[in-house]
Symmetry: C2
Subunit: 366 residues, 2 copies
């Protein structure tokens, strides 16, 4: 998407084709800085330090990391070492493993001399494929937006989103934000309510930043506000991403998503979830019972980072000394609260039947 008029991806090969450049997301929203990754160690650290985040972008970065490793040393030993180094960065990310397995399977049978170019090409393809998947989500979502817009009869379309499922989490377009960008670019008047998304504030820091740079009207709100807005007809639809979607259409997404889905249901506001089909976990049915929820460091709740009066990014403590905090990172929104799933293959109801219409080969009995 655009940053103040200039088109960017979140990751791209450097001009000389010897390195990879990424937007340093640890500096957002207060600094826009591009970081150059020269070797596999740079790529691994970028993933570990969350310079890049979001499952699709992590996958693309890992693929480029393998390519950078092959440029330096394309031996079997180097291939194995690069795989291990990158795999260890964030072991639970599905796309990370998928991208690494893809590259390894491609490279192993090749002669050593051919590996670097093949890896580089394939990394580029993985990035392009992600852009295409998100573009399709955006197009299917845009059709949904147009429907809601027509029912409403006039603009602006007021959309509420939670966390960051934007282009910063992918290579371009994003998932939940893709239809928003497409609607905006198509001249449909869209205004976005951005949940700040405590405790890590991905909404206030990343979603607000990327919407602002592309020129999409938006307002940041505390996570407490969505219910009131929906109660008063100030939200026309909600759209969020998902980290994991079950075979019956439950969605596991950033903590707080469930509360907004409850408010949407109670107030008749459509609640959509946008996802690449790769987030569907066909082995899980009941998300609330089966998906373990990650508990993260309490410090993410007790402390927060921001820009001080001197223009420095500093961390401050919010809670009294001696007060402990709990930090559950995700929650599960049951399928019955979800109006529809917007995938790269089309839109379906959040149910085994619905998913069956788009993925007949994977469908499970309801």
């Amino acid at each position: 998407m655009k940053i103040d008029g200039k088109a960017y991806r979140t990751i791209w090969p450097s001009a000389d084709g010897r390195a990879v450049e990424v937007i340093d997301q640890t500096r957002l929203p207060h600094r826009f800085e591009v970081l150059t990754l020269h070797d596999v160690e740079d790529a691994a650290r970028a993933i570990e330090r969350m310079v890049v985040r979001g499952a699709p972008l992590i996958g693309a970065t890992a693929a480029y990391g393998m390519a950078l490793a092959m440029r330096a040393d394309a031996s079997d030993a180097a291939l194995a070492a690069a795989y291990e180094r990158l795999f260890g960065t964030r072991p639970t990310a599905v796309n990370l493993r998928w991208a690494l397995d893809d590259l390894r399977a491609l490279l192993r049978p090749l002669p050593v001399a051919a590996r670097a170019d093949a890896a580089w090409r394939r990394a580029g393809e993985i990035a392009d494929e992600d852009v295409e998947v998100c573009r399709r989500i955006g197009e299917h979502g845009l059709a949904v937006f147009r429907e809601v817009f027509e029912r409403k009869g006039q603009g602006p379309l007021r959309v509420l989103t939670h966390c960051n499922a934007g282009w910063l989490a992918t290579v371009d377009w994003g998932t939940a934000l893709a239809p928003i960008y497409m609607a905006h670019d198509a001249g449909l008047s869209v205004e976005v309510w951005v949940d700040e998304t405590r405790p890590r504030n991905q909404g206030a820091a990343l979603t607000a930043w990327e919407l602002g740079r592309h020129g999409v009207p938006h307002r940041v709100i505390a996570d407490n506000v969505g219910g009131h807005l929906m109660q008063h007809g100030l939200v026309d639809l909600c759209i969020v991403g998902t980290d994991r979607t079950t075979a019956q259409g439950d969605v596991c997404n950033k903590i707080g998503t469930y509360l907004k889905a409850l408010a949407a249901k109670a107030n008749g506001v459509p609640f959509y979830v946008a996802l690449p089909h790769t987030t569907i976990d066909w082995t899980v049915r009941d998300g609330v019972r089966e998906i373990p929820i990650e508990e993260r460091d309490a410090r993410e709740v007790t402390h927060i980072q921001g820009l001080d009066a001197a223009g420095e990014v500093v961390e401050v403590r919010l809670t009294p000394e001696g007060s402990d905090a709990a930090n559950y990172a995700f929650d599960v929104t049951p399928a019955n609260l979800v109006t529809g799933l917007i995938t790269d293959r089309g839109v379906c109801s959040a149910s085994a039947e619905g998913l069956g219409t788009l993925f007949p080969d994977r469908a499970v009995a309801s």
Copy 2:
């Protein structure tokens, strides 16, 4: 309640009886400081600057402010000037007007020489009456807690609360927190989930502080977390305060209360609201339609205050430059989401009928 073993109120006469002392709540949770109010101007500024906050405490401070004014000059002109000065501090607070009217009605007919002592006595009575009202709320709430505890069959009783309806908002005990203190003091095992309550963080800053100082086990959570906790049986009951309760039992409380009430309803968790009967607005029925919701400065969302590494309280910016924010301060929880109202007169259902049983003189037809 206790601060590290020593009993405090939020406001009390100084040892020499010539001034009033208050806990400076603008410094919490990072500093515990007591401020001395020497005259009516000090009292007015304390209310304006939110050194004291919470409707009952504002009322008590205003009463003491009138007493301080009478000590300096008990003339009719001084009485009128003190009333005006104090009334202008936070014009919308119901208890402020009530306390000022009470004092003025008492003092006007008295000889000038008798006014200072009478005002001082009456201010003390107002403070004591508030303590008694909160104590009764606590006792009625404790009976509710015992019931839930017995149904559960074992401890701890896990209670979720939102914002600060604690003793810091009143003179002592608090409203929603009064039953928690009574349960804790009675040896009932209670653990409190404290919503941080963005954007002003009254939960993380005030509720966590006062629970911690009194020794009540608690954990701070992001406002996003309560739904997940309730979905997984980790909350036995919710209890919150209310700024305004309608004649049919709707409650207007800090923004985000509604979302927690929705989650409680969806998961069969009892949701109680604690209130002094003075917060009931008998002229309002439908809270969602009739109560105007205050929009506050966007800066409360875009910026936050905390303790930096050097031990200084500083403000930092959270959002990107150019991103606007919306800041709705309250929301309305419809009566059908409320399990019961815990008042100083007893517990009733959140309905015109329920309120009619406790307040037969004020009851309105349903």
